[in-house]
Structures are given as structure tokens and as C-alpha cells.
């Protein structure tokens, strides 16, 4: 790989992860670089640990007690340029700060029970922005960034619960984008959506990668090949292969990867 000009934003190093009460680790020594302003796809059969890995990357797992990490997940400090291990973070406010830097979009759209405007403004307010004019500007910018400004500008005060699934998902993306995160993690963001909404979300993801680094779990091989720059194939908690997407889909080096993408299992 000629990746001399690629910059790592995150790097998972030798990560073991065990759920509370589980007899053995779900992630077994994973290594994965996440390159800046690139889209990295995580593929693999159901239950192989894709979501588990993604949820480790902003420590959302830690909302539930009793889990154990071993290894490192480095995140680049924007100011110093140094890599810092996010598994060292302990305090609630450090984790909050981490999650504002590494955002997450879920499988099902999760609008909050409030207005469209408040959904986007909510995270900004949590960050301490109070000025109404400033909030208005940032909300508009985020909704434009998530390509739903046109549909929502006349009903910003309406409840977000009344939007279509596809719109809700773009609203959730807007809500995360508004915080200007360094990395956005997507866990099968289109699996609950129709093809047209899926197309809109894919377009949006390719659009935001110029500002935000993306890691996306997907079940859909076409989606991975269309969208991503890098792809990693996981199986039973192991990372079997990581490479440029083209290489993975045209000429994988592992037999298992080839079997999976050609649909022989999974």
C-alpha cells in the first residue's frame, strides 16, 4: 500500500474486548487503522463483532458496567498531533468529550422526542453554546450539511417524530455533524431504510468525508464497495483482512475474505 500521505486519525491496537459475564473475549486482538478523511467499511457475517468493535471506538460500551478492554485504541490529539489511548479515559467528562469527538449513528434512526430544531441544537447546547443567533446559524449549517435543509426549513418547530425514516436518519447525521466531530461511526445506518433513502444517506456520507473521517459497518457488499476507501473483513472476533476497498473486492489475499464477498457464506 502506498499510504505515505495517509494520516491515521485512530488506530485500534491488539484490542481484546469482553462483555460482562461472557466466558471469552468477543474481540480477539484486533488491529485496525482509521485514516483521515477516508471511509473505512467493516464487513463480516452477523455476530462477528463489527458493532462491538465500533462501539469500543467511542466507548459507548461503557454505559453498561462490567466489561473489560485490553489493548489500545489511539485517537490523534488535534492540537499536539500525538496519538492518545482512549482506553485510558476514566472520568465521565472525559468520555463525554470523547463522544463529541467520535460520534455515532445507529441502525435505527433515533430522533429525540423534541422539535427538529432542538434535535440539532441539543448537542450544541450541551457543548455550551447558548447564543440564539449562533445556534440558528449552526443548526442551519448542519441541516444543510446533512442535505435536509430544504425539507425542514419551514417546519423546524415540528416534532422530529413525524418525519419519515430516511429524513430522521439524516436528521441524526445532522445532529452529529453539528458537533464537528473528528470521526463518525455508522452502524448499519441504512439497513432500516428504503433504497431511495439509502441512496441519499450514501451520498451524504461520501460528502461529509471531506470534513469528517468515517467508519461504517455494513451488511451490504455493494454499499461497502461503492462507498468506502478501505475495507476490513471480520470473522468471529478476528480481523481477517484490511486493505484498500478495491483490493479487498477484486483481489483479496485471504481465501475467507473472497468466500465471504462472493457470497459463499455469511
Amino acid at each position: 500500500m502506498a499510504n505515505s500521505e495517509l494520516k491515521k486519525v485512530m488506530e485500534v491496537k491488539d484490542l481484546f474486548f469482553t462483555y460482562p459475564g461472557a466466558p471469552e473475549p468477543t474481540l480477539k486482538g484486533n488491529n485496525l487503522p482509521i485514516y483521515e478523511n477516508k471511509i473505512t467499511a467493516l464487513i463480516g457475517p452477523s455476530g462477528c463483532g463489527k458493532s462491538t468493535l465500533l462501539r469500543a471506538m467511542n466507548r459507548i460500551h461503557d454505559l453498561y458496567p462490567g466489561l473489560t478492554y485490553k489493548g489500545k485504541i489511539d485517537l490523534r490529539n488535534q492540537e499536539t498531533g500525538k496519538m492518545e489511548n482512549i482506553l485510558d479515559l476514566k472520568k465521565e467528562n472525559e468520555l463525554i468529550n470523547l463522544r463529541q469527538r467520535v460520534g455515532m449513528i445507529f441502525q435505527k434512526p433515533t430522533p429525540f422526542p423534541m422539535s427538529i430544531y432542538d434535535n440539532v441544537a441539543y448537542g450544541l447546547k450541551l457543548q455550551g453554546i447558548k447564543n440564539k443567533g449562533e445556534l440558528d446559524g449552526l443548526v442551519e449549517e448542519a441541516l444543510k450539511g446533512a442535505a435536509i435543509w430544504k425539507e425542514t426549513k419551514d417546519r423546524l418547530k415540528d416534532s422530529a417524530m413525524g418525519m419519515s425514516g430516511g429524513q430522521q436518519q439524516r436528521l441524526c447525521i445532522a445532529r452529529s455533524v453539528a458537533l464537528k466531530p473528528e470521526v463518525l461511526l455508522f452502524d448499519e445506518p441504512t439497513s432500516a431504510l428504503d433504497p431511495i433513502s439509502t441512496g441519499a444517506i450514501e451520498e451524504l456520507i461520501s460528502e461529509i468525508k471531506k470534513d469528517i473521517t468515517v467508519a461504517i459497518v455494513t451488511h451490504n457488499m455493494q454499499q461497502a464497495s461503492r462507498l468506502s476507501d478501505f475495507t476490513t473483513f471480520m470473522y468471529l472476533g478476528d480481523i481477517i483482512e484490511f486493505d484498500e476497498t478495491e483490493k479487498i473486492f477484486l483481489n483479496p489475499s485471504q481465501k475467507m475474505t473472497e468466500d465471504y464477498i462472493t457470497g459463499r457464506f455469511g
Partner: protein, 284 residues
């Protein structure tokens, strides 16, 4: 075949309960007629409850029991609501896994204790404490209100907890994922999401407190006087009905039906509101 039978049966039961409701209302209304004609709306603010000589006529007014019912319920709700919310939040979001179960079971058991036991406990154990702390002579509005609160807290907390538990994990996670603290997630996501159920639980508890007889009969003092301070004894609608029904005659009986009708209408309105909120919640 079986499906049709079941449908007919449930249709029958549903209609029956509707007719029961209408029937009860009609009976209360009919028997209350004499008193309604005699006292009209003056009944609502007349403070006297006096049978006439040799059980003929007399003057009956509902002001004291109506106020007693409303005041004791109000005290109960003011005390119970914040505590029940606190318990529900603790059980859904704060308590560590191991203690949620025993705590929940305890709450459900408390909710199932017959009210007469709360009444006896209140009279023998709790009334002296109230007397010590707030003066008065133990029984009275305040004691009744506090014990009513203690009675409805488990019920309110259990329903509120159940409706808070319906908040999907991913919704909470989404809020954490944009940097919310636990407190912010509770306040901005869980509470609004389960608002319908929470309001419903408050209103259902209100309905229970309004109609409670046994516990209040022990604690409110059962005297026909307007309380001057919150620790003074007074009476409430169900207590007055339970105490006087056996000996009452004609106009007094009719006045009691009038009181019952008032309680029925208030409780019915309260429950209807609760249903409306529960129903409203299902929409999204």
C-alpha cells in the same frame, strides 16, 4: 369459530362495563335528586351537616368533606410525585443491576398492601410522629395526606418506572453519543419520551387518593369541621359516607348520594384524563 365466540364475548364484556358505568351514574343521580332539588349548588359551599328533629329534613352541605378530600389528596400528591419520580429514576437509571430486582419487588409488594393496614399503621405509629413534629393532636389533614402519599408512592413509582423502561436503549445511547451526561439523558430524553406514562401514573394515583376510604377514615379525624391549620382534623367524602350511611334517613341519604355523585364525577374525569394520556403516548 372460537375467534368469533371470543369476539362476541369481549364485545359483551365491553358493553357490559359501559352499561355498568352508566347504570351507576344513573342510580347516583336518581337518589341524589331530593338533595339536589333541596340544596342545588349551595350544597357545594354549605359547611353544615345536620339532620333535622326526629330525622325529618335537616341541612346538609358538602363543603367540608369535599374540601377534606381535595386537600388530603393535594397534600398526598405534592409529597408523592417528586418522591415517586426519584424512585423511578433511581431504579431505571442509577441503581446498580443487583439491587434493582429486590428493590422493585419491595415496591410492588408495598403497592399491594391493603389500605386498612396503612391506616392502622398510620394511626398507631405515624400519627404520634406527626403530632410531635407539627403539633395538633395526631389525626388530621396532614397525617391523612402523608399516609395517602406513602400509599400511592409505590404504585406511582412502579408505573413511572415501567414507562421509563420503555425508552429504547439506542435513544439513550444517541444522547450519550453526542455528549450528554446521565442527568441530561434523564431530563431531556427519558422524561419527555415517557411523559405520557408519567402523567398517566400521576393521574391514576390521584384517582386512588381521591377515593381512598379505609386509611383516611383512621387518620383524618372524621369530624365535620373546617380545618384552620393543616394539622386540624376534618373529614372526607368516602369517610363521611362510610361512617354515616348506617343511621341516615331520607334527605341525609340523598345528600350522601349527592356527595357520591360528586366524587364519582371527579374520579371519572381524573381517570378519563389518565386514559387519554396513556392513549396519547401510544401514538408515537
Amino acid at each position: 369459530m372460537g375467534g368469533k365466540l371470543f369476539r362476541n364475548f369481549s364485545f359483551f364484556s365491553a358493553t357490559l362495563s359501559f352499561f355498568l358505568l352508566v347504570g351507576i351514574f344513573a342510580i347516583l343521580f336518581t337518589y341524589a335528586q331530593e338533595s339536589m332539588h333541596t340544596f342545588g349548588f349551595d350544597f357545594l359551599y354549605t359547611e353544615i351537616w345536620e339532620p333535622g328533629e326526629d330525622d325529618e329534613g335537616g341541612i346538609f352541605g358538602g363543603y367540608i368533606p369535599i374540601m377534606g378530600t381535595l386537600m388530603s389528596t393535594l397534600i398526598a400528591m405534592i409529597l408523592a410525585t417528586p418522591l415517586a419520580m426519584g424512585i423511578a429514576i433511581f431504579l431505571t437509571e442509577i441503581a446498580p443491576g443487583q439491587i434493582v430486582k429486590p428493590f422493585s419487588i419491595a415496591i410492588e409488594l408495598l403497592a399491594a398492601i391493603p389500605s386498612i393496614i396503612y391506616g392502622m399503621w398510620g394511626l398507631f405509629y405515624f400519627a404520634p410522629i406527626v403530632q410531635l413534629l407539627f403539633g395538633g393532636n395526631g389525626v388530621g389533614l396532614l397525617t391523612a395526606g402523608i399516609v395517602l402519599a406513602i400509599m400511592v408512592i409505590p404504585f406511582m413509582a412502579a408505573i413511572t418506572r415501567d414507562s421509563m423502561n420503555t425508552t429504547p436503549d439506542v435513544l439513550k445511547e444517541s444522547a450519550y453519543a453526542i455528549g450528554a451526561t446521565k442527568f441530561e439523558v434523564i431530563k431531556d430524553v427519558i422524561m419527555p419520551y415517557s411523559k405520557g406514562g408519567i402523567i398517566g401514573s400521576i393521574i391514576l394515583s390521584l384517582g386512588r387518593a381521591l377515593g381512598e376510604t379505609m386509611a383516611v377514615a383512621f387518620l383524618i379525624g372524621s369530624v365535620m369541621t373546617v380545618p384552620k391549620v393543616i394539622t386540624d382534623p376534618t373529614t372526607s367524602i368516602p369517610v363521611l359516607l362510610a361512617n354515616n350511611f348506617a343511621e341516615a334517613q331520607d334527605l341525609e341519604i340523598s345528600s350522601m348520594y349527592y356527595l357520591a355523585l360528586i366524587l364519582f364525577v371527579v374520579s371519572f374525569t381524573v381517570i378519563a384524563l389518565a386514559k387519554f394520556y396513556f392513549f396519547g403516548r401510544k401514538k408515537h
